[in-house]
């Protein structure tokens, strides 16, 4: 039997996870609806004042995206852990870090990208201008991969632990702070005329830092969890 190369293995893992997500579309829909509902609750709580809504919109959308990401993180490794697939990934000849990266990429495609795609609609509901919506979507596009990457560490550390979802949220939310600040700050900064480039570059820097580091830490955490 021919052995699969690293890229081939990662790609087939992504394909598998996407297929699994497609077969269980309800899970993806749950995450998306959660995002929409959380964002819709804010005007009901804060009041329908357009000026206020416009000011809080970036923060609200970012926090809703953050929470919906947390909601879907619980499923990142849990199913594979239960049915034993994860042990096979650990034993595979390909480096675990690469395989974990594939899992995270699939998670972002399933849970992060739809949120990014839906964000302009919610932005319109909050009365954001066209420019602000573009920057908000861009910041989500650049920032949500970091959420998946950093979140995977929490998901791996709490694998199979009592109340793992809640615990994972507790561990990961403080680590999300920089992404939240730069992401929500991008819109505010462009509104105030300072331009969003600085914030967007910093979001990019966060992803660049997280891409090598987070899968590595996640792989270490998975080894600890499974052995």
């Amino acid at each position: 039997m021919m052995q699969m190369g690293m890229t081939g293995a990662v790609l087939s893992l992504v394909r598998r996870d996407l297929l699994l997500a497609w077969r269980r579309r309800a899970d993806v829909a749950t995450t998306l609806f959660f995002f929409v509902i959380v964002a819709s609750l804010f005007p009901l709580g804060v009041g329908p004042e357009p000026a206020v809504l416009r000011t809080i919109a970036p923060g609200v959308l970012w926090i809703a995206a953050l929470l919906s990401c947390l909601l879907s993180l619980g499923r990142l490794f849990a199913v594979d852990y239960q049915d034993g697939t994860l042990e096979h990934m650990l034993l595979a000849p390909q480096p675990l870090t690469a395989l974990v990266f594939g899992k995270i990429a699939a998670h972002w495609l399933v849970a992060g990208l739809p949120v990014v795609a839906l964000s302009p609609l919610i932005g319109l509901q909050f009365g954001l201008s066209g420019d602000a919506i573009v920057i908000l979507s861009l910041s989500l596009l650049l920032g949500t991969p970091t959420l998946s990457l950093v979140g995977s560490i929490g998901a791996a550390l709490t694998l199979g632990v009592r109340g793992s979802n809640l615990l994972s949220a507790l561990l990961v939310l403080p680590l999300f702070v920089p992404v939240l600040i730069f992401g929500a700050g991008a819109v505010a900064s462009s509104e105030s005329g300072m331009g969003a480039e600085g914030h967007l570059s910093l979001l990019g820097a966060c992803v660049v830092l997280a891409i090598p580091f987070a899968p590595w830490a996640t792989a270490a955490a998975l080894r600890i969890a499974v052995e």
């Binding site: 560490i153 009592r162 561990l171 403080p174 700050g185 600890i224 969890a225």
Partner: protein, 247 residues
């Protein structure tokens, strides 16, 4: 003369660490009491009154050393976690576990005294100042490490998982600090900054240094006491612990 090489690994078993910690504790504890008493005396009675803030500034002698210790202890905890992961040494994990509550305590103390300092000087108990905010997030990280350790029943896994979390956190602390600082300057503009405070008198600086030393000695004493309890708890079935109980 032949130099005797110190074998650092001779304390890398709980059985050897236990009596060593027991010998060191009184030393650390007494000197910490001396330093904290001297520091408080200098800070509260000797140091001159600030001409802007009056006597309310004197909480600085607890506040700043506590904030230093909170960050320092996190790094030390992460260091022991790294040693534990690298060398697979159990006492290192025990040290990391023993440091966490003291670190969290100093973080809380820094926030608490900060609030009492903020009220008379800034007119508010809490300001979303960069230092305060990142200190608050540091408290969340301590809580995360301790809660993760407490939630996992298998001790081996609990040790190693919380070690990974502590290491991830240590990378994150500077990023959080700079992001919060940037966020704060963007949103609040000219808030009162501590760096612009008038130059400190030499006695004030000395008092702060002595307090910091006292807090450090206190942390060492308390950590070693806690590590002894952890050793007894984990090794309760080992024969040497049984012997210790008899004697």
């Amino acid at each position: 003369m032949k130099m005797e090489r110190i074998n650092w690994f001779q304390w890398s078993s709980p059985q050897a660490l236990y009596p060593l910690a027991g010998k060191l504790i009184p030393w650390f504890a007494w000197w910490s009491a001396v330093c904290i008493t001297a520091g408080l005396y200098m800070g509260l009675l000797v140091a001159p009154t600030d001409f802007q803030q009056g006597d309310s500034y004197r909480i600085i002698f607890v506040h700043v050393p506590a904030a230093w210790m909170s960050m320092f202890l996190y790094v030390v905890m992460a260091g022991w976690a790294a040693v534990g992961l690298g060398l697979k040494a159990r006492p290192s994990f025990m040290m990391a576990q023993a440091i966490a509550p003291t670190g969290a305590l100093f973080t809380f103390l820094a926030l608490f005294t900060g609030a009492f300092w903020g009220k008379p000087t800034w007119g508010a108990w809490w300001v979303w100042d960069a230092r305060l905010t990142s200190e608050l997030i540091l408290l969340f990280q301590y809580a995360g490490v301790m809660l993760l350790h407490a939630s996992i029943d298998d001790l081996r896994r609990a040790d190693r998982a919380s070690a990974v979390l502590a290491l991830v956190g240590v990378v994150n602390v500077p990023i959080i600090y700079f992001s919060v600082r940037w966020w704060n300057t963007l949103h609040q503009g000219a808030s009162i900054s501590m760096t612009a405070a008038p130059k400190m008198a030499a006695t004030m600086l000395a008092a702060m240094g002595i307090m910091a030393l006292g807090f450090w000695l206190y942390s060492a004493a308390v950590t070693l006491m806690r590590v002894r309890s952890i050793i007894l708890e984990r090794e309760r079935h080992a024969s040497w612990v049984q012997m210790e109980r008899v004697s």
